[in-house]
Symmetry: C2
Subunit: 276 residues, 2 copies
């Protein structure tokens, strides 16, 4: 069997086009401020891609590149200034931050209604409760991909590999809220292969290249690969794409799967924040 | 095999005694305000037990019994007044509220630092992120019982049956944060029995009398019964206690298991809120 390849780039383009239409018809130009600290090359690439997607969709964006030795107080001051700026509807602080800055403190300082990354405790709390709010971009993007792939969630069995605050846990909560039976695995999970084998939906978000192989996958399962691991040959996911595609019903590639969706959901969240 | 019976009442008494000692030695008398709307008999009993536990531990408590036809605006006014009252460190609104009142609106109106039920999105968000905060009482009480029973969580496999905002989801998050592989089941879970059979730790929080039977339990598993179902013969849990106790390694009874712990954690949360 050959899997359906879920084209994340195409879905992301649709999401961005839909945002662009709404923005061109609306009264407000949504504004996104991106703060980047230091010169981590991966962060630079991410921020550039985010700013580019914003421009494509007709958002106003501002980038603040702060020196790696910026103080926590200065960074918090910048956040406070942007919280008060009526032209800015979304604020994003690119992670990771340098070790001398408390990430939690900075992320919780962003006004919850401008927290387009969906990391603020209040937005996460609203996710748990199933209340409206800004949702973390990567798992929200995975949900859109599952929906576009026609996957029925209620009554399904999903396995999430990884339990990070920004992907694993919010992803599990979204799937639980949608009626799936959800198992969250970690590095100490007993018999990972047997656990993943039970899943109709597999979300790999653990950051270990090709950890998930064909033998672990139930025939016909939908496999969403959140992993972005850098290797000499380029980017590879947490899923061994070439083997798993022979077993799965549908699968996202890396690159071109979840990655573009994360950025599209950032634009979508900024629009949501602007019209709220 | 005969299970160890986890004596929730004894553990709750220890928690309350420890709170009483800290309160008697401290400078601040923690104050709890309980709001009850209408005359639901079960709610009356819960509130009476909560107030009694507070008195036992040396807390100051105030009870506000509002008429069933109180308006949402009046109720929100009462909450705002208590938010501003320096003698009150914890505010609890007993659920359920009458249909004409928006529960979410009332619960999110409570100041997060006085939200001793741990239902405010900000506190739930802090739970997800693993940040300090006020935790929902019932799952927090289950965690204390697991700890006192000497159950090792990291690397274990836990199954939570039920996905409510006040028990199932926060319980799952606490177990995930503690390093367990956690599966959250709901009424549509395919092959519930086989799923529960895999668990080292079973948390039943679904509100269906004796749903969990001996055949579903792995020999030696720890079984925590959150269910409180009223039947003619009295209270029964979600677990068929008499059959499951022959298979489980340890089990909580109903009554006398999780119930007393919920109240003890409310007192503990109020103390935490007062000294924060």
């Amino acid at each position: 069997m050959e899997s359906t390849i879920i084209n994340g780039r195409a879905v992301a383009d649709e999401v961005l086009a839909s945002c662009a239409t709404k923005i061109s018809q609306g009264d407000v130009v949504p504004g996104l401020a991106v703060i980047i600290v230091g010169d981590n090359p991966a962060s630079q690439v991410y921020v550039r891609n985010k700013v580019r997607a914003c421009e494509k969709a007709g958002l106003h964006s501002e980038k603040y590149a702060l020196s790696v030795d910026v103080s926590e107080v200065e960074l918090l001051g910048k956040v406070a200034q942007l919280n008060a700026d009526p032209a800015i509807h979304g604020i994003l602080v690119q992670l990771p931050l340098p070790a001398h800055i408390n990430e939690d403190k900075v992320l919780t300082a962003i006004a919850a209604h401008k927290d387009v990354d969906g990391f603020h405790p209040e937005n996460i709390g609203r996710l748990v409760a199933g209340l409206p709010g800004l949702r973390p971009c990567t798992p929200a993007g995975c949900m859109v991909l599952l929906e576009r792939a026609g996957v029925s969630l209620s009554g399904s069995r999903a396995v999430v590999i990884g339990r990070s605050n920004i992907v694993g846990k919010p992803m599990a909560l979204m799937l639980i809220n949608a009626g799936a039976t959800v198992t969250v695995c970690n590095s100490k999970t007993p018999s990972l292969a047997a656990t993943v084998q039970q899943a109709d939906i597999v979300i790999a978000a653990v950051g270990r290249p090709r950890l998930i192989t064909a033998e672990m996958i139930k025939s016909g399962a939908t496999v969403i690969d959140v992993g972005i691991n850098r290797e000499d040959g380029g980017l590879v996911g947490d899923v061994d794409f070439e083997s798993v595609r022979t077993v799965a019903g549908a699968i996202t590639p890396v690159p071109g799967g979840v990655g573009p969706m994360t950025i599209a959901m950032l634009v979508s969240n900024t629009l949501q924040a602007a019209i709220a």
